[in-house]
Amino acid sequence: MATMKRKWGMAIDLDKCTGCGACSIACMQENNLPMFTDDSDSPKRVTFLDLMRVTNDRDTDKKFGDVETAFIPKMCQQCEGNDPKNPKPPCVSVCPVVATDVGDDGVVSQIWSRCIGCRYCQASCPYEARVFNWWKPDYEGSFKEGLSPDVSVPSRGTVIKCTFCSHIWKRERDRMLAKGVKDINAVLYTPSCASACPTGAIIFGDLNDQASEVSRLAKDKRAFRLVHTIDDKPEEEKKRLMAIKHYPNPKVYYLSSKQWIKDMQKFK
């Protein structure tokens, strides 16, 4: 059996993101997510990829014309805790029925049909990335006929989450296996949000592969992680803080050339 070499990660270039929402729509379709009549900004909506709108007028009194807006596509950040060799995402250890786990490829999984809907994982998630099916899933018109057979259809009363579309990887691996390729590390894939992005703002790949674009972007000067201010601290201070508690240490990186977006990651 081949040893897993991959560690999937993502880099999202906010300078390229136009906020069109194609990633969110593609994600909903790929993962069989329900769409309700009014799903615009409801805190009960079921979506893996949320487009958060931020503006630069939080700290200063900007006038009309000077206000800048940015959209931050936010999905599960696939946290791993302080020690990447022994990943401890905040949501995994809390599940009372082992409905969620972290794989050796670094992806935090969720088994729809094992979940009892206690929402403890949802409470533990610092990125509000997990969603609960408050209602029985509803599909408008002929949408139901286009459901993907690779993903479980969510049922009412369960928590579901983004898995970096790991079912696509499984599908690709099966396809390669049929061709006689047995090494799982030989197969790469692209999640639906990255495929759908018209400006190529979402880059997905293997963080263990130093030559991959995502690895290069993660080390870019413009890179930062969502509300992960420990990254900016000196090494000594970082060590001291990590002795106090775990940090999410997410595998999704954001890139921006605008300082105000990075400043926005800190609470006042």
Binding site: S93, V94, P96, R119, R130, N133, R156, K245
Partner: protein
């Protein structure tokens, strides 16, 4: 033909017996109802009305889901979880009393023990009931036993796994502790076997008290504090030693709650249900425990302000804004101080009004603590561009919550009327003259 006639006769006899039974039951209920005062009648109507809402909304929530609540993806825990934490915390008085009576042999607490065991049992029963409503897939509730998250070691990995198992075991202990109470009914006591059984159960109850204390230490800590303290991604909740605070707070607030319930029962029944001495002893115990609970809470606030919140790169005062912010913390500490002063100063505690105020403060302190945990924990924003969230329970949530509490009160009333909930009443001829 003869057989048919025989069947007909037997059918008629059964019908008559049935009708007589129904008529008798209706007459009994009517006589009972007419025997009540106006105030009791109004109370009963309100309580039964709430139980009706509990049933209607219970069917709606179980059948159509949690969409009818005001909980959301931003606010995953709501009123029922406050109820769970509060009931288990206040029900903690049961194991504390059991420990003091059966292990430390504080015999003055004996007149309170039946009432305490019943309240403890109901607190845990309704915690489980609220949990069933709160989980999205009630039919999968057994997954907690079938697929527990034990992790790799002996200790459970998920605090909720620990809660599920410990709560179940302790609930079994409470059932065993409760059994002698209905069996002590004078009618049943005429049977020598039942008489002997209750006698020996009382003799051996220290084993249950010890088991209960052992189990309660774990789940009081895990549900009340550990469950929240391990959430390292959440600034309000992350308090690693909150586990121990929850245990001490439950012993303090729980004992105050047991005293308060028995006191209210005495007031409603207009009888001395428990000797004043017993109330004083329990209040004294509660007062001392409240000092420890206060010290633990104060230490936590200090640790949060100086260690944990700065580790999130946030300021302590900043996280205590919003609807359920600093004012609730102040109120909780005020209740703690009230309970400490009123229950520990003998001159104050011995006066009835200060005694009542003291135990109410004890109950209030632990209730506020649980409300802060649930309401404020979810309310605090995770992203700097978001504001504090609000939560406004829907009528379905209120109906189930208040209906559950109303059912508890009705069961308590039933036991107080028909079973020896307060043995002191039988010993001292109802003691109307000593009513407090």
């Amino acid at each position: 033909m003869e057989i048919l006639n025989q069947i007909k006769d037997e059918w008629n006899a059964a019908k008559t017996a049935c009708l007589n039974g129904i008529t008798g039951a209706m007459k009994f209920c009517k006589d009972e109802w007419n025997g009540y005062t106006r105030n009791i009648k109004i109370t009963l109507l309100v309580l039964f009305g709430l139980v009706g809402l509990f049933i209607i909304f219970g069917i709606q929530i179980l059948g159509w889901g949690l969409g009818y609540t005001d909980m959301s993806n931003l606010y995953p825990f709501g009123q029922w979880i406050i109820g769970d934490l509060g009931l288990v915390g206040l029900g903690g008085g049961a194991f504390t009393m059991g420990f003091f009576l059966y292990i430390l042999r504080v015999d003055k607490l004996k007149p309170l023990i039946n009432s305490t065991v019943l309240i403890g049992f109901m607190c845990y029963l309704f915690t489980l009931v609220f949990l069933v409503f709160d989980i999205g897939q009630p039919l999968r509730a057994w997954f907690g036993y079938a697929y527990p998250n034990w992790g790799h070691g002996l200790m459970p990995q998920s605090m909720l796994t620990e809660v599920v198992w410990c709560l179940t075991f302790y609930f079994c202990v409470l059932i065993i502790e409760l059994v002698p109470l209905p069996l002590e009914h004078p009618v049943l006591q005429k049977f020598p076997f039942i008489h002997g059984l209750t006698h020996y159960m009382h003799k051996l109850m220290w084993i249950m008290a010890a088991a209960g204390t052992f189990l309660s230490f774990f789940h009081q800590g895990s549900l009340g504090g550990g469950m929240w303290g391990v959430l390292y991604g959440k600034v309000v909740w992350y308090r690693p030693a909150y586990f121990f605070t929850a245990i001490v707070a439950a012993t303090a607030g729980g004992t105050a709650f047991m005293a308060l319930c028995a006191y209210i029962a005495g007031k409603v029944m207009k009888k001395e249900v428990v000797p004043w001495d017993s109330f004083q002893t329990l209040a004294q115990i509660s007062g001392v425990l409240t000092i420890f609970a206060f010290l633990f809470q104060a230490w936590h606030v200090y640790m949060q302000a100086t260690h944990f919140v700065p580790a999130f790169d946030r300021s302590f005062l900043d996280i205590w804004g919003g609807y359920y912010g600093i004012w609730m913390v102040v109120l909780m500490f005020a209740a703690y101080i009230g309970a400490i002063v009123l229950l520990n100063v003998g001159a104050l505690r011995s006066q009835e009004r200060f005694f009542v105020a003291g135990i109410s403060c004890g109950v209030g302190a632990i209730s506020f603590d649980k409300m802060i945990v649930v309401l404020h924990g979810s309310s605090t924003p995770n992203f700097p561009w978001k504001s504090f969230a609000g939560y406004n329970p829907t009528i379905q949530e209120w109906g189930i919550f208040l209906g559950g509490l109303a059912t508890m009160i009705l069961i308590y009333m039933l036991f107080a009327k028909y079973f020896p909930l307060f043995p002191h009443l039988n010993k001292h001829g109802h003691g109307e003259e000593h009513a407090h």
